[in-house]
């Protein structure tokens, strides 16, 4: 069998936000929108389901969730039906794994769905199980666990070394909240002004409320198949998965990611591999969805992806280079700062937006976009996951 090229053919999302719905309810909403996005596909033709979720075992008291989701969305997987967990990159991990399954012939048509129900009636749970996301025996026992303190150290380091300013952090928030204002599926639809961001309450200096993504319930779903099958199912332009990489490095307690906290060596490692596999460079990327869990994250990511030089992420975002009309529009659907971050769903939300961008049907369209990139960082910067999509294989 010749090697298959793999395409993403459909995407869907539940409404994201503070939801009075279970994780399974939201998975069903996302799957329905995804099925509606590709009417020619029969549900019986979906032979694989990967469900990305990190906290379903604890906050939804549901382990082995994939078969439960399969039943609720009316599919009967025969090749693969399993859960994936890489915290904030779970959805992207699922897309990479599904690509391999389809390329190899183990599976033909795979749905990658995922999400979290993070708000529970026991509100303490939200701030307790976060401690499970790190080396809890040591760092968790000291009171590290919620992300803002860690990313504030990153921001301080970046400001000290490169002269990055708070105004540059805020520029990311203003841009992404503006992009998200027209996305009906995201957590927030309200744009914010730089004055509002400036006046918001301090979480951990130098990060204020609008520098941080919210805690969000939600699910998302996409469908992948091989190119020949995709052509049978849709008249839209095909969107291929061209490259991917995932680089891990445990970066708390005994390891640093690179030379210092704002130097993300493992992200550069992942970017290099993904670019090589995709046969593209940073200058070829027309639209990117990067992991803006905090405003500082997007600034460091511009550098490590090679969109600008190391240390120049602040001026890059402040001068509009990551906005429409700039070098590479970033987080065109609002990113994590607007949409929220139900961990397992985020990489899938990004893939859905890139699919729509490369097919010319995004809500905020980047004209003529042909190559797109998605990126996630997991946990307290332990892992980076990158995917490259293109109109050509």
């Amino acid at each position: 069998m010749p090697e298959r090229n793999v395409c993403i053919i459909a995407g869907g999302m539940s409404k994201w936000g503070v939801r009075e719905a279970s994780i399974i309810d939201m998975a069903q909403e996302a799957a329905k929108e995804c099925f509606d996005d590709i009417p020619a596909l029969k549900r019986k033709d979906i032979d694989g389901l990967l469900f990305a979720s990190s906290y379903c075992g604890r906050r939804s008291f549901q382990v082995n969730i994939a078969p439960v989701v399969a039943e609720r969305i009316g599919i009967k997987p025969t090749s693969m039906c399993t859960r994936v967990d890489t915290l904030c990159a779970g959805g992207s991990s699922g897309i990479i794994l599904a690509t391999g399954l389809i390329k190899s012939g183990i599976a033909d048509v795979v749905m990658i769905a995922g999400g979290e129900k993070l708000y529970t009636p026991q509100r303490w749970e939200t701030y307790y199980s976060e401690l499970a996301s790190i080396d809890h025996d040591w760092d968790g026992a000291q009171g590290m666990g919620l992300p803002p303190p860690y990313f504030s150290m990153t921001a301080q380091e970046h400001m000290k070394r490169y002269g990055t300013t708070k105004e540059q952090l805020w520029a990311v928030s203003v841009k992404n909240r503006r992009n998200g204002s027209t996305n009906p599926k995201g957590h927030f639809q309200k744009a914010v002004t730089i004055e509002e961001v400036m006046a918001s309450r301090v979480i951990v200096p130098p990060l204020s409320l609008y520098d941080c993504c919210p805690i969000t319930d939600g699910c998302a779903a996409v469908i992948l198949t091989y190119a020949e099958k995709a052509r049978e199912l849709t008249d839209r332009p095909l969107v291929y998965i061209r490259g991917s990489a995932q680089a891990a490095l445990h970066s708390m307690s005994i390891n640093w990611p690179g030379e210092h906290l704002a130097d993300w060596l493992h992200m550069r490692t992942a970017a290099k591999r993904a670019y090589e596999m995709g046969r593209v460079g940073p200058e070829d990327i027309d639209v990117a969805m990067t992991h803006d869990c905090f405003t500082i994250s997007e600034i460091v990511e511009m550098e490590e992806l090679g969109f600008c030089k190391k240390g120049e992420g602040g001026p890059f975002v402040e001068s509009g280079q990551s906005d429409f009309g700039g070098k590479v529009p970033v987080n065109t659907d609002g990113g994590l700062l607007s949409c929220g971050h139900p961990f397992g769903a985020t990489g899938i939300r990004q893939a859905r937006e890139i699919l729509q961008q490369l097919q010319g049907r995004a809500i905020r369209q980047v004209e003529g976009a042909e190559i797109g990139l998605t990126h996630n960082l997991s946990g307290l910067n332990v892992e980076h996951t990158i995917l490259i999509y293109g109109r050509e294989p």
Binding site: D135, D137, G140, A141, G143, P149, M153, V204, S253
Partner: protein, 137 residues
């Protein structure tokens, strides 16, 4: 005892590094060193991640380290709500060993400076719990 009384909130009662707690009770903060490849570890590892040897030895973290970075926790995770605000810090000690711990409440925020001297020592917590923290070097 093992790890059941370690830290403000802990999650693992049984671990191979349980002697760490016995040393901590005796006033010592210990790390391990691999006898085969010579790499030091904090948190202590009883099996070397580098060469996978189980031939490791304990050694005490002594003397002055220096502050590399710190952050203020204004909103604590569950179990730490009553501790906030508190300061988490990263210190580097002899041989490049890095330790992540709370900064003692004796140190005022205005006196904190990157590069300042630190010592790490055991600290008794309420409810018969024990941990380690940084004090001024």
């Amino acid at each position: 005892m093992g790890f059941e009384n370690f830290g403000t909130v802990s999650f693992t009662a049984e671990a191979k590094a349980a002697d760490f707690i016995t040393y901590l009770e005796a006033g010592k903060v210990m790390a391990t060193r691999c006898r085969k490849c010579g790499v030091s570890y904090f948190p202590p590892r009883m099996d070397c991640p580098r060469c996978l040897s189980s031939d490791v030895e304990w050694f005490e973290i002594k003397g002055d380290g220096k502050l590399i970075s710190y952050t203020v926790v204004n909103y604590g995770p569950t179990g730490f709500e009553n501790d906030a605000p508190y300061i988490l810090a990263l210190g580097e000690f002899d041989g490049g060993v890095q330790i992540f711990a709370c900064l003692s409440r004796d140190i005022e925020q205005k006196d904190i400076q990157i590069g300042m001297g630190l010592v790490v020592s055991p600290v008794k917590l309420p409810d018969n719990r024990i941990a380690y923290e940084f004090k001024k070097g």
